[in-house]
Symmetry: C2
Subunit: 329 residues, 2 copies
């Protein structure tokens, strides 16, 4: 690993001159430049990014932290951020947050202490007040879920409206007994989607039944359990609103075909290929990622420009077939 000083010594110049050559500083004699460039090639010189980053206190890379890259929704967000960053010649460093809210802080702080140019995060915990001290040095952009105890740039979907649309759509197809299957209700996304569900139920004058609400469904076992209970319910539902893509995918595994009408929150690969093709509320993760990355760069380029912090994106219902399963009584 040759250093700048190694190159300098060989070339018979100072380290600073090598630095200038590398950074295309015009104040270098063409012949000096050529000579130094030759030596750099000879020694396979690669600058130590760490030293530069350390010196000026800021890296050019941006960070992305999502709950789980295996989830196609988050993978798409990460990919969109990467695409935009790449077009600006900036590297992207992606990290999994996992499913333990307690570890979120450690993971994010480990990213932040690398002095990244900015951070896009889809949070899993419910307290972000500790991030305050990082805010003035690093642009933070939240996606999917809003921060708690912190004011920061946020791009979320209109979860309440999505939940409402999905449920409303099932009601319009003649369903009155509509179940809700979702994940962790401490998360704002889940809570808002459930709120939208209740609003649609309420508006249609349907009697509320907590027995149809299956939350904290997040693995195969709990999904099967929820499905069994729903099908055994004394007044069995004819339709289900699945509140996230993970649940939808697991439901498709666990649910006997054509038993219940389904509308899912969040599109995913193959949702249009399964039979019946799944009707979904589409979230457009690419757009979220793109906007979040754009915002990071806006904040980097114009530190004091005032921008709307809270941004709620519209969701759209993609009608396929799963909503059309008959509402047998």
């Amino acid at each position: 690993m040759a250093t700048m000083r190694d190159v300098a010594a060989r070339a018979g110049v100072s380290a600073k001159t090598v630095s200038r050559v590398f950074n295309d500083d015009p104040h270098v004699l063409p012949e000096t430049r050529l000579h130094v460039e030759q030596i750099m090639r000879d020694l396979n010189y690669v600058p130590n990014v760490l030293a530069t980053t350390f010196r000026n206190g800021r890296s050019s890379a941006i960070g992305v932290a999502v709950p789980d890259v295996v989830d196609p929704f988050f993978a798409a967000i990460a990919r969109a951020v990467d695409d935009l960053a790449r077009s600006r010649g900036v590297a992207t460093l992606l990290t999994n947050l996992g499913d333990e809210p307690g570890r979120e802080r450690d993971i994010l702080e480990s990213l932040l202490s690398r002095r990244l140019a900015g951070l896009v995060v889809a949070p899993i915990s419910i307290d972000h007040s500790w991030l305050k001290r990082w805010q003035d040095s690093t642009p933070l952009v939240f996606v999917d879920r809003a921060p708690v105890g912190l004011s920061a740039d946020t791009f979320t979907d209109n979860d309440e409206v999505g939940g409402y649309q999905a449920t409303r759509h099932l009601i319009e197809h003649g369903h009155r007994r509509i179940a809700y299957v979702g994940g962790d209700l401490r998360l704002s996304t889940e809570l808002n989607r459930l709120a939208g569900y209740w609003r649609a139920i309420d508006e249609a004058g349907i009697e509320k039944d907590d027995g149809l609400i299956k939350a904290y469904v997040d693995n195969r076992a709990s999904t099967e359990d929820a499905v069994t209970r729903l099908l055994d319910h004394p007044w069995r539902p004819t339709a289900v609103f699945s509140s996230n893509a993970r649940c939808s995918m697991m439901l498709l595994h666990a649910l006997p075909a054509d038993q219940l009408a389904v509308v899912g929150f969040g599109d995913f690969p193959m949702a249009d290929v399964v039979r019946p093709a799944l009707t979904v509320i589409d979230q457009d993760p690419n757009e979220i990622g793109r906007l979040a990355a754009q915002r990071v760069f806006d904040r980097v380029d114009h530190p004091k420009r005032r921008l709307r912090k809270t941004n709620i994106l519209d969701v759209t219902l993609i009608e396929r077939e799963s909503c059309k399963v008959a509402a047998r009584s």
Copy 2:
């Protein structure tokens, strides 16, 4: 952003003592320790990881570079690496390589110049000789595809055998006209799967027909084109071997239902839910990721231990239904 020296000044000790407190050095008086810890809390001190990394020339994080995190196969590898690293308290930094082989070097070098503890890479280019100079300073582990022009730890699937098994399986179901649909044939994985295909075809005494080979299928348009051409083929195939999960997923979109029997290389979410459920060669990306991460740590812990570099993992056929579509003539 308080530094160690800020803490030291406030606590009336030297920076070194603060460093010792932070690193649980036993040679600190308990009362000194308590006092310094108090000041650290007061000032919200967070150590600059960059400085430490820079100082000792090595970070504790490991890097993962894959073609595309949206591809569930690579996402699963990344996730498995992350899981193992996490259990050792090591951070993982994930990066997309994208689909331009020419950019691979820049992206990897940008990762490597961050002086990571190790790098797991699923490469997209066909020349890795330039990585030689990094090898003695950073453990490199290749997954999915072997490096070209470089000897390094490698964990790949037995692509040739997988291609053979898939094709053989279709032959056993009575098919004689079997098409191949795959991606970029410059990649060793694709090439080996095709080789396995040819071996099975050959062994069964089936006449070779290059018209049934559709390579470089990598987006929706080229998939539809390939399907159209295959169905219009004078001697139309009755089955398809799809050489990667991406292709399989696109084929499921483009292929009219029940027209052709299909066996795909690589399982993916929903492959068992679509109708007919897709028969696949299963690659177990979790195992690959786990082994690769394990190898990185082995290399870090025991720099001179001798280990088998080339590791080829067995693949297994998961029989579902798509292979059973009748071989109509």
